[in-house]
Symmetry: C2
Subunit: 187 residues, 2 copies
């Protein structure tokens, strides 16, 4: 055999993800990725193909990293209270690390909403559809609500989540928390 890799692919992917998360796709150059990931361009290309597939891998990595938050929501038994907690969990990364801005998926959704990138769109929609389904299930725990009310509230919460993700890039913790509280006031 031959020489072994001097870097760990999972580690450098994590670093790439954080850079894409902070800056988005277009504003992140290969040069910046080189610096942040700590490896040469050649190594990036040999490990991840190209910039676009590196981005897709970063998205996948993000999804698996928020999987625990998702599962917490999924396995909850308190209905709306679980969704509210999910909202809190979703923005918590913003307060822990100043480099992580908003929700990586929502950011990507916004950046790519006018392009025709099938791969990215597929990942976005899978994520959103999944979330919507879980929220509907949680709302159904309250059996006093009819089907129509549940769908309307689910849409409301998805939009609120969307807005929350956007706003968490610029607003303060207090503002974010107030917003979450008021969002759930009338459900």
């Amino acid at each position: 055999m031959a020489r072994t890799k001097q870097y760990n692919e999972a580690e450098v992917l994590e670093k790439a993800m954080r850079l894409f998360w902070k800056n988005g796709y277009e504003s992140t150059s290969m040069q910046m990725l080189e610096k942040e990931m700590g490896i040469n361009k050649f190594s990036i290309y040999s490990s991840f193909g190209n910039k676009h597939s590196l981005f897709l891998e970063s998205l996948k990595h993000y999804k698996s990293s928020v999987n625990s938050v998702f599962n917490k929501l999924k396995n909850g038994t308190k209905g709306i209270e679980d969704i509210k907690q999910f909202f809190y969990d979703s923005v918590s990364s913003n307060f822990k690390d100043n480099n992580l801005k908003g929700c990586f998926v929502t950011n990507t959704y916004n950046e790519f909403s006018e392009t025709e990138d099938d791969m990215v769109k597929e990942q976005m929609e899978a994520f959103m559809t999944n979330l919507k389904q879980i929220i509907i299930e949680k709302l159904k725990i309250d059996t006093s609500k009819n089907e129509e009310t549940i769908l309307r509230q689910a849409n409301y919460l998805l939009l609120a989540k969307h807005g929350l993700a956007a706003a968490s890039r610029v607003n303060t913790k207090q503002e974010i928390e107030d917003y979450i509280e008021m969002t759930f006031k009338n459900l």
Copy 2:
């Protein structure tokens, strides 16, 4: 004297604004602007300086174009009901013209939230501060609310507006309208 301009600066600026509005700053190239504005690069540069100042002019132009919506809110006498109408007015352009996505200012806010572009930031903050002040005034019409409640509700509405702008890029009219209704239910 000499030759006269074969284009109207206000007209081509309007076209530039719509392109920036749809695609954002980075994703709009001078080549696209050339095509959309219908004039040569040289003409763009001689009329607007460079891409960045053309973008700033587009932002200014946008602000003046939504001025009527702003004034309608400002001059209203029905308090919260005026703010709700303002929300409806703010997203109406999305349903009239498929090329206008979200709120140009909010889109810019998102795209530039991580850069250090003083000029752009100044325009953003002026816009947002102004809106917040008007909303506070409208909320104060209800004299039963104390100062703290008013501030909290104003922040809530600003975040909701932020989310609404983001969501109006992708959601349907029905979803948007449901969202607005439920947002004001919480006040």
